[in-house]
């Protein structure tokens, strides 16, 4: 047995925080990473993954404990470690004005890669990332997924002994994500590279040889994916959604019984769920009632959710936000609230959105999916009135967005991808401002603020900018809902947040939809499409698929029908192949 690549003994690292005093990011953590294989660090936000990665890379010194990387004491000799490892941080520092080739050259220079070694290495990197065609393109003009691939290529301009990847797939679409992993896998297989990757995607962790589940700066569990999966054995089931019931309503029913059900998510039109280990047969029977349930093989995500739920002392955060929000007059009556006809948006010669048409009915959850740079953000921005359309008809909430923009805007709510409220103001002041901007009267405003702060468990006097991530998102939601909009627009609301917080978030969304609010949402998590009534998949500005999740899965054919992720990849690749055939012909 060879020496471990990384060996940590009781490693600690704390940070000083102005509000809460000292916070232990990594708290007496021990682990041992084997050489020549893929190792995953998984855990919720704030588990200490990034801090640990930075300590591995010698960018931070541990406050205590022993940490050796490649047999070297990192605290004593960080430079020697850095000479032999490659580290890709969450936001890789590409020079946006330099071309792909110039970025590669620059990083090769920085790492002192000899000229004769470069040619082969560059050729291999460009081939693996499939970017040989774009060497002259400035990095700033690449799509998000391509940037990430270039970042990886720049990280790998030399052959390291250890590769550290910190959440490489945040905000990256499924196609680019698959490509990224293909590259990493190839390096492990061909060169015997040791790779440590932190991720919040369980399907990524499943590809690794060894998985460490982290929580609050400690290792909660470790083992091979198979060994970890075993923990959920016999507890995993699928509930078959009866006809006429939305999968997400069934999911809501299950997840709202946390004493019986650890976790429930819609998948493939049905709901997969995990039972609490100490089975109470009658109670479970009472909960599921007439619904047909069948056991299913356990997955890594099931084990992960189990481990995390056992750590949460309080009831799932979703319970705090489940109260059905304001019921809008005239609930789900099936009438279209958004009508899009032949919508076109051009930027100069470039057509970002080409002749798109669809309708969204009242009370629907409508998902806009697509790879990075597919035009979904452009479509989304046009729908909420942030970007004028080049041509086409656009009715939102019964108002023509081209002529009655202010009236249309009064009826919509918007939650931006990143926190977009005023950080120096407190929660109440932010809500007051948005409430008044939407023309709420004094009384109505006070009542709404009370409702919202209660529903989202927010402290009205807390300064917004200092709220923890999850609470910032709740505040954004509260601000977006303050005027009881008919339609709520959510732009990648779950990007970069962990599965636990995502469950809570979706519980809020489904409750809103039950209350008659129409939801338009963009997301990179394909499994989240299962919560939607209908989804649209866009690529290169064109609408590729539009329909219920089931319809889209069926459209993708037999191999794609299993889960949304493969369906999405199949639909996009199919269309791309058709397009290149058409171009060739």
């Amino acid at each position: 047995m060879t020496a471990p690549t990384v060996e940590a003994r009781e490693v600690r690292k704390s940070f000083d925080d102005a509000d809460t005093g000292t916070v232990a990011a990594v708290d007496g953590l021990s682990l041992s990473v084997r050489k020549g294989q893929l190792t995953a660090l998984v855990g919720p936000d704030g588990a200490g993954k990034t801090t640990l990665m930075r300590m591995f890379a010698g960018l931070m010194t541990p406050d205590g404990g022993a940490l050796s990387v490649l047999g070297i004491d990192v605290a004593r000799d960080p430079q020697q470690v850095q000479d032999r490892i490659s580290y890709m941080p969450q936001r890789f520092g590409l020079y946006e004005d330099l071309s792909v080739q110039e970025n590669l050259d620059l990083y090769a220079d920085l790492h002192g890669v000899p000229m004769d070694a470069r040619r082969d290495r560059f050729a291999r990197m460009l081939e693996m990332t499939d970017m040989a065609r774009f060497t002259d393109r400035p990095a700033g003009k690449l799509s998000g997924g391509m940037k990430q691939k270039l970042g990886l290529a720049c990280t790998l301009v030399r052959s390291p002994d250890l590769l550290l990847l910190d959440e490489p797939s945040v905000g990256v679409d499924p196609l680019s994500r698959r490509d990224l992993w293909r590259i990493v896998q190839q390096l492990v297989d061909d060169e015997g590279l040791s790779v440590i990757v932190s991720t919040s995607y369980m399907d990524e962790a499943e590809r690794c040889a060894q998985v460490f589940v982290m929580h609050r700066g400690k290792v909660l569990a470790e083992g091979t994916p198979d060994a970890l999966r075993e923990r959920a054995h016999g507890l995993t089931y699928t509930a078959l959604t009866p006809p006429g019931v939305a999968a997400r309503d069934l999911q809501a029913r299950l997840i709202d019984a946390p004493h019986l059900v650890i976790d429930a998510v819609p998948q493939g039109g049905n709901v997969r769920y995990i039972l609490q280990p100490d089975e109470k047969a009658e109670e479970v029977a009472a909960l599921t009632g007439e619904i047909t349930t069948e056991p299913r093989p356990e997955e890594l995500e099931d084990a992960f959710m189990m481990l995390l739920r056992q750590q949460e002392d309080e009831a799932p955060a979703s319970a705090a936000a489940t109260r059905p929000a304001a019921v809008v007059e005239g609930t789900a009556d099936g009438k279209p609230v958004i009508v899009v006809r032949d919508l076109v948006r051009k930027f100069g010669d470039f057509t970002a959105v080409a002749s798109t048409s669809f309708e969204v009915r009242r009370g629907e959850i409508f998902g806009l999916l697509g790879p990075n740079g597919a035009g979904k953000t452009t479509t989304f921005r046009m729908l909420c009135g942030l970007l004028p359309a080049t041509s086409g008809q656009l009715d939102v909430a019964g108002r023509d967005l081209r002529t009655a923009r202010a009236q249309a805007r009064a009826r919509i709510g918007y939650v931006a991808q990143k926190f977009a409220l005023y950080g120096t103001l407190n929660v109440r002041e932010n809500l007051q401002f948005y409430g008044r901007a939407y023309g709420l009267g004094r009384r109505a405003l006070r009542d709404r603020i009370d409702e919202m702060t209660e529903q989202f468990s927010l402290d009205p006097e807390a300064q917004s900018g200092l709220l923890p991530g999850g609470f910032k998102q709740r505040l954004s939601m509260a601000a977006g809902l303050i005027h009881q909009p008919e339609i709520l627009f959510l732009d990648e609301p779950t990007s970069g947040i962990d599965p636990l917080a995502r469950r809570a978030f979706w519980r809020t969304i489904t409750a809103l939809a039950q209350g008659g609010v129409t939801i338009i949402i963009t997301t990179h998590f394909m499994e989240e499409a299962e919560y939607c009534d209908r989804i649209a998949i866009q690529d290169a500005g064109e609408m590729l698929a539009l329909g219920t999740p089931r319809e889209v899965r069926e459209l993708a054919g037999t191999d794609g029908a299993r889960d949304m992720n493969s369906a999405f990849i199949a639909v996009v690749e199919d269309a791309r192949a058709r397009r290149s055939r058409a171009e060739a012909a």
Binding site: L386, Y414, A416, L425, E429
Partner: protein, 370 residues
């Protein structure tokens, strides 16, 4: 009617938010008062052209009673301090070049004999033109001393002075810098404040959130412009009070007219700031544009150099510079006690700048291509 009430309450909400955001941030709160106060004091004490100490040297080739008497009178002022007594003309250059002497007083060998002969007797004063304002003040003081001496002689034998300023023959004395600060110092801050206001929101992503509300561009414009205007006026007031009560420069004109001028000027300045802000995507960009603009605005304002001395083409350029008309209005109202009729023409370019920049920025809020 209800629509108007809604329009107003929505706009007030935005104004409140802006003021709150500004005042709640300790760093920006400090920036509102401290720099205006500090800069006024700095300009008041530091940037003075007043003559308090003037080192000079003497080349007295006449060595007569008159030259001795004149030198005694010059030194008696307490301002002029003789640092060297020169033996020949070749030493003059060294004295001025090194900066040891601000001026050199030269009495030619025939000074006394010309006086005796009742003819004109020139004495020479050589000045350091690099330091034009102080030199010219020194020269006028010496002229005054010589004039007084002439009178004491009885007009029989007038001594004329031949002044020659080295390096800067056309020097001009200015002393009305301080009142101009009321306009120029507050403009620095308002321009920056307005330029950052939209750019900050764009950078932090809050502007999208603002644009999806039913607020119209005109409401956003008013909501963004008014806080900057108010803060600009508060700063002007601080500077005004310091000048009036601390430096005790007497105010000749009407306070109402002064403020009418300041309001108009500040609106134009905020218009420029908001236009910069509306085209910028980041705060850094807005800051760069502002710095790029502030220098020409200052130079072409008549703050330091009179507009009428500039080449014709630059004089035309000053017409779009609100600072030129702001400073002119403030100076004339403050120092000359000018009436509205006197300064009315200054309002036309100010209002024109505001009428272009404000609607432009309102349009840019929504139509800036990202």
């Amino acid at each position: 009617m209800q629509a108007i009430a809604l329009y107003i309450t929505q706009t007030i909400a935005l104004i409140r938010k802006e003021m709150l955001a500004l005042l709640k941030d300790p760093s920006s709160r400090a920036l509102l008062l401290a720099p205006a106060l500090m800069q006024t004091l700095l300009f008041g004490y530091g940037a003075t052209y007043d003559l308090t100490y003037a080192p000079f040297s003497v080349l007295d080739q006449s060595r007569g009673a008159t030259s001795t008497e004149l030198l005694a009178r010059i030194e008696a002022t307490g301002i002029f301090a003789r640092v060297a007594t020169l033996d020949n003309a070749s030493q003059i250059a060294g004295q001025i070049d090194s900066g040891d002497s601000l001026l050199v007083v030269v009495f030619p060998p025939d000074f006394e004999s010309r006086l005796a002969a009742q003819t004109e007797a020139p004495m020479q004063v050589i000045l350091d033109g690099r330091n034009s304002a102080t030199s010219s003040a020194a020269a006028s003081q010496i002229a005054a001393i010589v004039g007084a001496y002439n009178q004491s002689l009885g007009a029989t034998s007038p001594i004329s002075i031949l002044r020659r300023a080295w390096f800067n023959p056309n020097y001009e004395s200015r002393w009305n810098l301080m009142p101009a600060m009321i306009a120029s110092l507050s403009m620095l801050q308002t321009l920056m404040l307005a330029a950052l206001s939209v750019a900050r929101e764009r950078e932090q992503g809050t502007f999208d959130q603002l644009l999806v509300t039913p607020l119209t561009p005109s409401q956003i414009l008013i909501g963004k412009a008014l806080p900057s205007i108010i803060i600009g006026l508060v700063q002007s007031t601080i500077i005004f009070l310091v000048i009036l009560f601390w430096f005790q420069i007497p105010m000749a004109g009407s306070v109402w007219l002064l403020y009418f001028g300041l309001v108009t000027f500040t609106i134009a300045a905020v218009g420029i700031g908001l236009s910069i802000s509306a085209v910028s995507l980041t705060m850094q960009q807005a800051m760069l544009y502002t710095f790029m603009l502030i220098m020409p605005l200052m130079l072409l304002s008549g703050l330091l150099t009179p507009v009428r001395n500039m080449p014709a083409i630059l004089q035309i350029a000053t017409y779009v510079n609100p600072l030129r008309f702001g400073i002119d209005t403030v100076r004339r109202v403050y120092l000359e006690g000018a009436t509205f009729a006197d300064v009315a023409t200054n309002f036309i370019p100010l209002l024109a700048v505001a009428a272009v920049t404000l609607p432009l920025s309102a349009w840019l809020f929504r139509n800036r291509l990202s």
